[in-house]
């Protein structure tokens, strides 16, 4: 074959970077500019394209910071098309999937199993993965109560024999007069006894509370100790309205982006009133995220998008704005000298709200005038006042005013653009990376620098191989799926 190797390589490298951006940002949900259908369709195409053309690279992206939605999709697609892979590929994929499933929240994994069941995928590898993952669950009885029908489906699908009382519990409930496993017994009693439901996980207890007609306020007050960290954060405000003061989230322990979302969901008066508490919590989360990198970034200017499109959509409320706000606090912790530049021109980050147009060009000029070491732009890239000015400013800055690259410019985009199969870029001279959680900011900025010069496929492969090796090493060794030898032949 006389194919132009370097040309094909470049395209492959670009395709993979494109996919990584998409897999970090896209969640198949409605965005400001496109509906859920378009997002899903566009994302699905990318997955199929990459799977068909670069199967090994596609699997390797599981080791990157792709979001949960895409991790599940990748795992599913790999398992559905397992017959197309070589035995060596299959082995590698099995390990990557198993490792990734350990990191996913259990409800996502159960969702994946049910999805595989619906798609009638029941190859040996799928069953092995389900078996090993379920065997590694710390408390099968708890899972059986909390995710009852999903566990039932998974067990059925993978032909597993649940141990102990789980068999009767899942498939013949009501048969035994009493269980010896405490949580199963509590669950049985909760059908008749109000007091018992407060020992169940919140999602299960909620149903029983409704059945017993327990008032919402009283229920939340008593279930408070059983709430998970994120349930607590989510329920805090509505619980307060119901008079359940016991539901108190410790804001200082929350992840940064979640916390930013929570702050933005509060009305402006509340944010003003609780200014000290909220700011302190956000700063603490940022410091924790920055870790040892804190204060090492030199002078940093950030252009942060709070235009109306940062509202996101009804499904992803204020997500782009929350990412910008979280990035703001993180960069404050990272930089020695930090200047935030909100598009609306407001100076106070805590009372930020999505409103107004996107004059990116002008704000980038403001940022460049400060002559920082690093300029970070967090925006969805819909530059509209006037359109295209940001691109022009950055182009001329790079070619005419700062050819020596004294100032690093990075664009981070929290929104996947379904029509372009990528995140929207501002200028070809400035690297753009997708961002889902502000926690990944540091890694993404480093990666973006690395991607600024056009990366060849060999470098990319080497990088991915390194990431995959790290990824697999981090996990407990016992998790590795060892396929039976017969399958490999």
């Amino acid at each position: 074959m006389t194919r132009d190797e370097t040309g094909a390589d470049l395209i492959a490298a670009e395709d993979v970077l494109l996919f990584v951006n998409a897999a970090i940002t896209a969640t198949g949900q409605r965005e400001f500019h496109s509906g859920a259908d378009e997002q899903g369709l566009s994302l699905d195409f990318l997955h199929q394209y990459l799977l068909g053309n670069y199967r090994d690279l596609y699997a390797a992206t599981l080791a990157l910071d792709v979001n949960d939605h895409n991790a599940v999709l990748i795992a599913r697609n790999l398992l559905v098309t397992a017959s197309e892979a070589t035995p060596a590929q299959r082995r590698g994929e099995g390990r990557l999937i198993a490792r990734r499933l350990d990191l996913l929240p259990p409800q996502r994994v159960y969702g994946l199993f049910r999805d595989l069941r619906r798609a009638r995928v029941n190859n040996r590898r799928t069953r092995a993965i389900i078996r090993d993952w379920m065997a590694a669950r710390p408390d099968p009885a708890f899972d059986a109560v909390k995710y009852r029908s999903a566990v039932k489906d998974a067990v059925r699908h993978a032909h597993l024999a649940p141990g102990g009382e789980l068999g009767p519990f899942l498939f013949a409930w009501g048969r035994p007069a009493a269980y010896t496993t405490p949580i199963l017994e509590t669950w049985r009693r909760a059908h008749y006894e109000k007091a018992a439901l407060y020992d169940l996980p919140y999602t299960v207890a909620e149903g029983f509370a409704a059945r017993h007609g327990v008032p919402r306020g009283a229920f939340l007050e008593r279930i408070a100790p059983r709430l998970t960290r994120l349930e607590r954060l989510r329920l805090q405000e509505s619980a307060r309205e119901h008079g359940a003061e016991a539901v108190r989230a410790d804001l200082t322990t929350m992840p940064l982006t979640r916390l930013a979302s929570y702050v933005l969901a509060l009305p402006l008066e509340d944010r003003e009133r609780r200014r000290a508490e909220l700011t302190e919590a956000l700063r603490a989360a940022a410091r924790r995220t920055a870790g040892e990198q804190a204060g090492r970034w030199g002078t940093v200017a950030a252009v942060l998008d709070d235009s109306f499109s940062a509202y996101g959509s009804g499904q992803k409320r204020r997500r782009p704005l929350a990412v910008a706000l979280a990035c703001h606090f993180l960069m404050e912790a990272l930089a020695a000298d930090y200047t935030p530049l909100w598009l609306s021109g407001r100076a106070d980050a805590l009372t930020v709200r999505p409103y107004g147009p996107t004059p990116l060009g002008e704000r980038i000029l403001d940022g460049l005038e400060l002559a920082p070491d690093r300029l970070v732009i967090v925006s969805d890239g819909w530059d509209n006042a006037p359109p295209g000015l940001a691109g022009e400013v950055l182009r001329i800055w790079r070619t005419r005013l700062d050819p020596a690259r004294a100032c690093d410019v990075v664009h981070l985009n929290p929104v996947y653009d379904a029509a372009d199969f990528d995140v929207r870029r501002l200028a070809p001279t400035v690297p753009t990376a997708g961002i889902r959680d502000a926690e990944n900011l540091v890694a993404l900025v480093e990666l973006a620098q690395f991607a600024e010069g056009r990366t060849g496929l060999p470098e990319l492969r080497a990088h991915l191989a390194r990431r995959v090796a790290d990824f697999l090493r981090e996990g407990p060794v016992t998790e590795v799926v060892t396929p039976p030898t017969r399958e490999a032949s």
Partner: protein
């Protein structure tokens, strides 16, 4: 009266979505003493309440549906109305009767424009009261009622492809008091209000507004329009200050280009103004185009003050057919509704004029025997 101009408003960069281009108009200083009727604000829009002390006068846009009546049925304002803010009487309106099922679907308390052809018919009837002199040819009905409501081809904004999405993703500028709507770069409507809060309350109602068939077809068959992207000449830039100056120049260039070229049809038109009402410093007038064929013609209503500052403007782009009909009516009106002189002024025979009146759908204005008479003459081949 001077020409129509966007006094006190500055043009900002357009936002494009598919074939729709929306050009925001921003006021440096909002007009505080003329505001949307507070009853409309009460109707659950969730905007900041208007301070009664600062508001002296209020207006209600034409075709605006709200619960005006005491029995809680929705009604549409008939003609834009200018009034004292304290005036609490129901405005001149048309009660809307919905079928039971429809009434349930329609949220009565939402700000919206009349989603029916009625608004446009109302416009035409408002503008043309019918024959002023009872020449023998005109029918009883024409003399008594003028132009009765008739079906005009118009589409709600929801039927104009891409408009709903364009309005949804549009990012309202701070201080924005107006917008110009283009479909495939044909100016569809101009909408200006006195205060940014009014604009925010009314922005989404543009999708319930009426657009002519021209706009509907352009949006349907037109291709996506390109953005006017900023372009800066790299060679001329030596410093950041140069770059900033170049960026500023881009903005001014766009504003000048837009006002002269894109909105030229609206702003450069030859209008007749009919004063309707004067209240305090404000003056409500109706805008009538010259009905010249082959150019964009807009009818509308506007409120301006003594200094000529534009407070309120709402226009409707006429389609070619409507321009033709309007042309005919203005000619008739200019000649005192007399068939013979009108025909002479147009340089056609009387039979031809009557044929045109009938073709334009105004046949009912003439007595039946007169129509029959001319038709018979035409059939005989005589003039």
């Amino acid at each position: 009266m001077t020409d129509l101009s966007l006094n006190g408003l500055a043009t900002r960069p357009a936002q494009v979505w598919g074939g729709i281009r929306l050009v925001p108009l921003v006021r440096d200083e909002p007009i505080e003493d003329l505001r949307l009727a507070s009853r409309l604000y009460d109707a659950g829009t969730g905007v900041v309440a208007v301070d009664r002390r600062t508001v002296y006068w209020s207006y209600i846009p034409h075709g605006f549906v709200a619960t005006w009546t005491d029995d809680g049925t929705p009604a549409a304002a008939y003609g834009t109305q200018l009034r004292d803010a304290a005036d609490d009487r129901a405005p001149a309106g048309m009660p809307l009767r919905f079928h039971r099922r429809m009434a349930r679907r329609v949220d009565k308390n939402r700000l919206r424009f009349l989603p029916l052809h009625l608004a446009l018919e109302g416009y035409l009837a408002l503008h043309f009261g019918g024959p002023a002199i009872a020449w023998a040819e005109w029918s009883e009905r024409a003399l008594r009622q003028g132009l009765s409501p008739r079906v005009e081809e118009a589409y709600t904004g929801a039927a104009v492809r891409g408009l709903a999405d364009a309005l949804r993703v549009f990012e309202i500028h701070p201080g924005q008091c107006g917008v110009l709507v283009y479909a495939s770069d044909a100016l569809a409507a101009a909408f200006v209000v006195p205060h940014p809060d009014d604009y925010r309350a009314l922005h989404t109602t543009l999708v319930h507004d009426l657009y002519g068939e021209l706009i509907h077809h352009y949006a349907m068959y037109g291709r996506p329009v390109p953005e006017f992207r900023a372009r800066v000449e790299a060679a001329a830039v030596r410093s950041l200050a140069d770059l900033r100056a170049a960026a500023r120049a881009q903005q001014d260039e766009w504003a000048a280009f837009h006002d002269e070229v894109m909105a030229g049809g609206l702003l450069g038109g030859d209008y007749t103004y009919e004063f309707v009402h004067e209240l305090g410093p404000y003056r409500l007038s109706r805008l009538m185009p010259s009905f010249e064929r082959q150019r964009d013609e807009h009818i509308g209503e506007l409120i301006d003050d003594e200094t000529g500052r534009l407070a309120y403007l709402k226009t409707f782009r006429l389609s070619e057919n409507q321009v033709r009909r309007g042309h005919l009516l203005t000619r008739l009106a200019a000649n005192d509704w007399r068939l013979s002189t009108t025909a002479a002024a147009l340089g056609v025979a009387e039979t031809e004029l009557v044929r045109r009146i009938e073709a334009a759908g105004f046949g009912y204005l003439l007595r039946q025997d007169v129509r029959d008479h001319y038709r018979a003459r035409l059939r005989r081949g005589g003039a």
